[in-house]
Every structure is written in C-alpha cells, then in structure tokens.
Amino acid sequence: MSERFDARYPDYDVLKKWDTPSWNEQTRAVVAKRLEQVPERRFLDETEWSILQAVCDRLIPQPDRVGHAVPIVPFIDAKLWKNQGNGYRYEGMPPMREAWRRGIRAIDEEARLRWGGGFRELPTNQQDAVLRAIQHGDVRADAWQGLPPKRFFSSTLLYEVTSIYYAHPAAWSEIGFGGPASPRGYVRLGFDRRDGWEAEERYER
C-alpha cells in the first residue's frame, strides 16, 4: 500500500485566509486555541499515551510532516479527561474512559500474541496487520473480553482520530476544503466553478 500522500493542492493553505472576510473573530479564537494550546497529558498514563501515539501514526501516517505532525493523541486525552462523550454508547460497550483504557491495552496484547512484541516495537507492516485484524474482529487477546473489537476500532478509535485530524487546518488544506466561511461564503456554486478564495487543484485528471 502506498505510503505517499498525493498532494492535489500544494499551493493552498487555508490559514492564509486568516485575515480575510472568510474568518470571523470567533472562528479565529477557536482555531488559534487548537493550534497554540495543544493539551498536556492528563488522563492516559505514559505507556497508554505512547501506544496510542504509535496507533495514530498508522491510522493517519504523516511522513510528509516530520517534526510538525498534526497532534491527535493530546486531544483524545483531553476528551477523556473531560469525560465528554459523543451522546451514546452501543450496548455491550463499556463507558468511554474504560473503553479507551482497555482498547489500548488490548491492541498491545494483540500485538504481543501475534508478533511477540509490544505494538510500539513492531515494524509498520506488522502494526498494520494487527490493526486490520482488530478492524475485522479477528482477535485472540483476552483483553477483548467485553470490548467488541470491531465497534471499538470503527466507532471509538477511528471515529475520534478522524474527528481530530480533520478538525486541523492542515487537513483542510490538503483536501482543498474552503475552510471557515463567515461572514463571507461563496458565490460560484456550479460544476467546475471556483471563487477566487478557494483552493486551486493541481492534479492530473
């Protein structure tokens, strides 16, 4: 599988619109906080944190951002610290905090059972094999007792990781999303129509 990100909008940076009518004061405040005040570790212990970091590195690999990767784990930790869930949990799933603690441990245990080493120590192809097995519910570790692996992988882990990554301006830029748009919205709505303040695609069709 390709490990390369195919940039379609190499010249586009949504943050360049910061001081334009596309961004209002309240949006700047929210995004500035996200960029500048990355939460400290408060809920997970150091081991859990670093296993989760290794997992996130596979779910959203960022080889193109060495040293300035979009942070994901700190925002998961902050959510767990606040204990603010998403409004429900599936029957058979433990409450949110417990689900994360047990899920992280189970991923590590699954790695040991399959490859004889903790998740963090495995090469990336073995890490991916572990995650794919969990995604498909093909698990062996006892730690999955009472924690449905497919649900945990898709509805908890991947759900949260993608929420956080695609809340970051770097992710908006790479997909060519217009980003914040208030008070100024858009004028040109039809096929292949683009306002001057939207991303220009540079990609072989």
Partner: protein, 562 residues
C-alpha cells in the same frame, strides 16, 4: 459563555444583535403558569409562540444554552459539537442507531439550530397509510388539515422553494424564491433525468432574500453545525423571539427531571435543575416537547405512586413504536469539481418514491437528496463506514472536491418492539438514562435496498465512478404516538394525553408513522395545530380542572390504572 443562564431577570438574548438583549416577562416558581413547556425546538418553541400569542402565560424550559448565533457560532465542525445532546444514552437492538449528533439538539431552538433546513410536506395519502394504502396506521388528523398548517409554517419560516413542485396536490407558492442549485444538487438532477423521474430544488428554511435584520444565505455551507448569519430559519430566530415578544418566558440551561402530579392525578408543575439547584415551577398544564427520546424518558422517569408505570402510560405504549428514518447513501467520485461544501448541504431532491408505489416490493415511501458533508462528517463515512485508514484514507479524502452522493430519508414502519426505555444507569442529575432499542423490519430493509439499487444506477448514469454505499439513520420519531383510541396510543389528535387531561405532548414523538421526508415542517405544523386547538378548547371552557374536561375525556376513566 454557555455555562450560565442568559434568559433571566426580565431579559433574554437578542439573537439578531451582538451582545444585545430583549425584554422578557418572567414568572416566579410559585405562581402557577398556564403552560410549562419542556423543550424549545420545532415542537416546544413553536407551541410556546402560539400559546403566548393566544394570551396564555407560558414558561418554556430548555436544557441547553440560549445562543446568539452571530457571536457564539464558529465556522468549525469540532467546536460546534456544542449544539448536540451529548448526555449518555445506550443504543441497542439488532441495528443500534448512532445518536448524539445529527439527530439531537441541546440548545434553545433544539435541533433546528443545526438542522439541514429541508422543509417538506408528508403526502396526503401517507397520513392515511392504513385506510388508503393498506399498511401501518392512520394519523388521527385529516390530511387536508395538516396541509393547511403546512402553509402556515412555510409562511412563518419564509421557505425558499420552487415555483412548481412536481409531486402531490397543488400547494401555495413558497414565500421566497428557490436558491440556485449547487453542483452537488445538479448531480442529483442528472441522475433523476437519466432515470426518467422528476427532481426539484429543495424547499429550504434558509433565506433567499432579506428578512428583518437577517440577510440572505451566503452559501457558507456550515448549516449542519449552526448558522452564524441567521439566514437559517431555526426556531431560535423565528418562533422564540416571537414567543418572547408575545409574553412567553424561556428558561435556558434548565433541565427538567420530573413532572409533578397532584393528589387528583393532574400535572401540577415541573421539577427542574438550574444554576446548581433543583427548583419547582407550578403550572396548570404541562407540555412535553423533548423529542422522541427525552419525551418518553421524562414520562417514564416521572413515575409516582399513582402512576407507577410512568405518566400517560396506561396503554403501556410510552416509548413504544419508536422510529428513526433510514438514511442510506450512495457515494461516487465525479470527473468535475463539485466542491459540495458550498451552499446548504441538500439543494436538490426527488420525492418520486413517496408518490408512486409502482414496482415496489414494500409499503412506505422515501425521498432522496443531494449531499454536502463537511470534512469531519465525510471522514467518518470514509473511515468508519467504508473502512479506510492509513495513507489510503488520506488519499481518498483528498478527492473531497470531486465527491457527490445521494441519500434517502426513508420511512421506517412502526413496530412495538422498537422502543425507548430506562436503563439502570443514571446521569449527572441522578436521572435514569434512556436505552434506545432498534431493529429494522423486513419491509424497512426492502425499502432501503430498493433505494440503494435505484440511486446507484442513477449516480452511475450521472457520471459517478468508484461507487460505494453506507447505511445510517436520521430523525427520531414516535415513542408517544397519537391516535383515536386510548388503548393503542398515548395522546389524542391534539397531543393531549389520554390519562392526564392537563398533560400534553408536542413533538416528533407523536408521529404514528414516520413518513419519507424530513420531519421538522410536520412537527411545526402539528405544534401550530395543537396551539390552535388549545385556544379553541379554552374558549369553550373545555379544560382546566377535571370538572371542565369534556365528556369524551371523562369516559376514558375506565382505561386509567387502578
């Protein structure tokens, strides 16, 4: 900002002006008001307005904050999750549904603060599904009457819609002109034309021309997480200011935990939590308008010695016949740039399959619509539903501006087993949390399979490549259905509970069937009708004390629990 009540001490936020206030009549807890309404969304917000304008004293409670969209709403999906009902619920059954985001709201204005603004009428025959079409049950209201109230709501919200609507009997002109259809909507148009069926620009509750202090929609596309310009005609900027002007009091950040019942078995007020303490508001009538989960939850949580099974539950049907709508989608990649983040998410639709049953192997109808999910929402589809992660996910997401999709709002048939009940676990207020149990029936599955086949063929004909589909649900209905008989329903056609004459329900939980369209317009039409009915009954002296209850209600005594 959102942790302290704003609507108090004789004033409420002015939603149209930054930092400004409007005067609001306030009531003391110990003074019995004519109506205590629980919930301020499409049901409760609308009814608060109608009752206040009819001259009743009204206090309407909402668990959520009273926003000023112009200053409180960011253009940001993550931040705006603050509009959702995020209290814990348990979702079970064979097809457990996702809760908490698109199908919930915790704000003054309820989920209309972040709804998609799709404003459709249920077709006349669908209100009489049993007698005219041979499935499910009839609504206890005549379709012609519902259609009159639709007109009232369309006018009140200045719905922007097409001159000619292709389906159903003639309807009045929409008050505002239709919006220009975006590329995502034009893909739907292509698909429908290829399949030989009609399509239309979506009738939308967002302004296409100025209205008062609100300017027209600027197509910023963040509708699903709250409108920061007030173009969206939510209850927060329509019914609520009207209600306050007419003398209603809105209490924000006020969570009602229990309805009080007096010795005569009548509702006498509500217990609510605000500013760190439990308080009691006395009331001559109580209206529950908390939507399809919180309404039955509150009735069940208000169980007392006299009504040990919960309030209004002598039929055993509180929480039963709960219905989401199916929300399955087909997605594809287009050659052209679509940029579906521009404009309201749903700018074109077809109701073809709500108005014809030819070639169907199931009862019920569905509409389908164009789509425009924002990045996080789209990432959830591509990752959680399609199963992509890693660099494959990032590269797939980078095709964002070339995506298009078609999504249904499908009728799910009422089944008693689909229900809201109480779990043993309690929330931060000490109230038992709800458990939602849902499984599709055979007819429901045939409906969405039909839709997926049809949409897939249409999207392919429109130029979509790399097609895939996902399942899903939207809109929560039923759970306290209205009807003609106390034995098979919770309320009568006026939303008045059969068991307790001064306890009413006014929200989507009343729906006996779900219909194949987004429900907000119907909930508001029902609320307008209930408001008019209450005014009429009051004028006739038909309610208040038990003595004043009309004969038809007194006869119901035999159905009450011992």
């Amino acid at each position: 900002m959102s942790d302290r009540p704003r609507a108090k001490d004789g004033r409420a936020p002015d939603v149209f002006r930054t930092g400004a206030w409007i005067p609001m009549r306030c009531h003391r807890d110990e003074d019995a008001v004519d109506f205590a309404i629980i919930g301020t969304g499409a049901g409760g917000g609308t009814l608060a307005c109608k009752l206040a304008e009819a001259g009743f004293s009204v206090v309407a409670f909402d668990a959520g904050p009273f926003w000023r969209p112009l200053e409180d709403f960011a253009s940001d999906e993550y931040e705006q999750q603050k509009l959702y009902w995020l209290g814990e619920r348990i979702s079970g059954g064979e097809n457990p549904i996702e809760l908490g985001s698109n199908n919930s709201g915790r704000s003054v204005g309820g989920s209309t603060v972040h709804f998609t603004m799709v404003s459709l009428r249920i077709g006349p025959d669908r209100f009489k599904a049993r007698s005219r079409l041979g499935y499910a049950v009839d609504w206890p209201i005549e379709p012609t009457e519902m259609w009159r109230y639709y007109t009232e709501v369309e006018q009140a919200l200045k719905i922007a819609g097409p001159v000619n609507y292709p389906w159903g009997p003639p309807r009045p002109r929409y008050p505002y002109r239709a919006h220009e259809v975006n590329a995502a909507g034009l893909v739907l148009a292509r698909a429908c034309e290829a399949m030989g069926i009609a399509w239309a620009p979506t009738p939308l509750a967002t302004l296409s021309a100025p209205r008062g202090l609100a300017h027209p929609c600027v197509y910023r596309g963040f509708c699903h997480v709250g409108c920061s310009t007030n173009a969206k005609q939510s209850a927060l900027v329509t019914w609520i200011p009207r209600a306050i002007r007419a003398g209603a009091e809105i209490r924000d950040l006020a969570m009602v935990g229990r309805i009080e019942i007096d010795r005569a078995g009548q509702a006498s007020g509500v217990e609510y939590h605000r500013e760190g303490q439990w308080r009691r508001q006395r009331a001559r009538n109580v209206v529950v308008a908390g939507y399809a989960i919180e309404t039955p939850r509150l009735l069940l949580n208000s169980a007392c010695t006299r009504f040990p099974q919960g309030l209004a539950n002598s039929s055993g049907l509180v929480g039963k016949y709960f219905m989401p709508q199916s929300n399955h989608a087909v997605w594809g990649t287009m050659e052209e740039e679509i940029r579906w983040y521009k404009g309201p998410p749903v700018m074109a639709l077809t109701e073809h399959w709500n108005y014809t049953d030819q070639g169907k192997d199931f009862p019920g109808g569905y509409s389908f619509m164009s789509q425009g999910p924002l990045p996080i929402n789209w990432a959830h589809s591509v990752s959680g539903k399609r199963g992509l992660w890693g660099m494959e996910l990032r590269n797939e997401m980078a095709k964002y501006n070339h995506q298009a999709g078609l999504k249904i709002v499908g009728e799910v048939l009422p089944r008693e087993d689909n229900r809201i009940e109480l779990a043993d676990e309690t929330d931060e207020y000490g109230l038992r949390i709800p458990r939602v149990v849902f499984s599709y029936g055979m007819a429901d599955k045939k409906l969405y399979e039909h839709a997926l086949r049809f949409m897939r063929e249409g999207l392919a004909a429109a130029g979509g490549k790399d097609l895939w589909h996902e399942d899903g649900t939207a809109h929560l209905l039923g759970g306290c259905r209205m009807g003609s008989e106390p034995s098979d329903s919770v309320t009568d056609a006026d939303g008045r509970t059969w068991d307790i004459p001064n306890l009413w329900i006014c929200d989507g939980s009343l729906f006996p069937t779900s219909g194949g369209v987004n429900p907000s317009l119907t909930i508001q039409a029902l609320a307008c009708r209930i408001g008019d009915r209450i005014r009429l009954m009051a004028r006739r002296g038909e309610f208040g004390s038990r003595r004043d209850v009309p004969a038809s209600r007194v006869r119901r005594g035999e159905h009450q629990p011992a």
